[in-house]
């Protein structure tokens, strides 16, 4: 489904009685019809103020974390799904006013039948619309087979297998494109889920690791400009631009721990608005407490492929051996 909903006035009149809910709540800034209600702050925003608020918050995140600097070539990891679509739309609006920053996109085709075809078509349409350079790379080209083929009989491992292969594919694609930054569409929900999962696993090093700042030249730094924008805000942003597409979910997502954590956090967020943001704030505090205290893992190089890794053989080469069995 593609919606052209504009969030525009419908002519509804407010039911203005003390104890009766208002039929259409009004924007706190201009009294226009509200399209979004932030339950944590109680704030209502109309279409124009909601869009401006989202774009300002993304710009603030980029500036405060120094995610993009003059001269950068920012390559967007564009799956064509909602998050990377919103990321492209927002960066394409923000970056032209910034000094000599170039924007392009790369798409990875993992080879997931019945899922990836639609999002790749969506990605192709988007880059044409915005006139951006766009490169694609497939698992078949890089690894000799599709994710579907690799996962036969090992579906419960889908996310870890895909994560390792996808990370490599994105690095290769971004490197070929000449990127200085690789921008991903991870949103607040994704980031809060990761914080919670790392806590559940007791993985402190991963909890405080920052893929954007600790690359030390080993890989192209990854940035997440949407890290403080919720999944729901992204959906509303796309809907208001008529860019919402009802795309399928990854068929392997049901096997992941993340799926359980997502449900748990969504339920908590609903009951206790701000839960996800509080998790992110906790991570920031833990990072500050840990700064300089955690022993850094020595940088090694995989004895098989030469890529940077923490052990003798990198995760990808280890995985390739199991995939060929």
């Amino acid at each position: 489904m593609r919606s052209g909903s504009s969030g525009s006035p419908t002519g509804d009149e407010a039911v203005a009685c003390d104890d009766v809910p208002v039929k259409t709540p009004r924007c706190d800034r201009c009294s226009g019809p509200a399209v979004f209600h932030d339950k944590k702050t109680g704030r209502h925003l109309c279409r124009e103020h909601f869009i401006a608020d989202i774009e300002k918050r993304v710009a603030d995140t980029i500036r405060s974390k120094n995610l993009i600097i003059p001269g950068d070539h920012v390559v967007i990891a564009l799956s064509g799904g909602k998050d990377s679509t919103a990321l492209l739309m927002i960066l394409a609006r923000l970056l032209p006013s910034w000094d000599s920053v170039r924007l392009s996109a790369v798409t990875i085709d993992e080879g997931i039948a019945g899922y990836r075809e639609d999002t790749i078509r969506s990605a192709d349409r988007l880059v044409m619309q915005y006139g951006l350079d766009h490169a694609s790379i497939s698992f078949t080209e890089l690894f000799g087979g599709t994710l579907d083929a690799f996962l036969k009989g090992r579906e419960p491992e889908a996310c870890s297998v895909c994560g390792i292969l996808r990370r490599k594919a994105l690095n290769v694609a971004a490197d070929r494109a000449g990127a200085t930054k690789l921008a991903t569409g991870h949103n607040l929900d994704d980031e809060a889920q990761s914080v919670f999962m790392n806590v559940l696993r007791g993985d402190l090093p991963r909890l405080v690791r920052d893929s954007g700042s600790d690359s030390k030249g080993r890989f192209i730094p990854r940035i997440k400009p949407l890290m403080f924008i919720s999944e729901k805000e992204i959906a509303v942003y796309l809907m208001l631009h008529g860019a919402w597409a009802d795309l399928p979910e990854c068929p392997y997502a049901v096997h992941a721990l993340r799926g359980e954590v997502r449900g748990m956090l969504a339920s908590l967020e609903s009951k206790y608005p701000g839960t996800m943001l509080h998790l992110m704030e906790s991570k920031t505090r833990i990072e500050a407490q840990c700064a300089g205290r955690l022993e850094e893992e020595p940088v090694r190089h995989c004895r098989e492929c030469g890529d940077s890794c923490s052990g003798e053989i990198c995760q990808l080469c280890t995985l390739k051996k199991t995939l060929s069995q």
Partner: protein, 64 residues
């Protein structure tokens, strides 16, 4: 009230006037995971829907 569910199926119901959040919960959805259009226009969870309205519930797919 005509309700269009995420799977595109339709349901006629008359629980209004009621808040969007109450309707969504009564239908078994978590408000965090859906957005709602009333007569083609996005509305907030504290907006009210009436029996003459068409309400579309859109589930937010994860990932992407």
């Amino acid at each position: 009230m005509k309700i269009i569910l995420p799977d595109k199926s339709c349901r006629d119901a008359g629980p209004g006037p009621v808040t969007v959040e109450t309707l969504v919960r009564d239908l078994g959805f978590d408000p965090v995971g859906v957005i709602v259009a009333r007569n083609g226009t996005l509305v907030t969870e504290d907006a009210v829907v009436e029996n003459t309205d068409e309400v579309r519930i859109i589930r937010i797919a994860h990932g992407g």
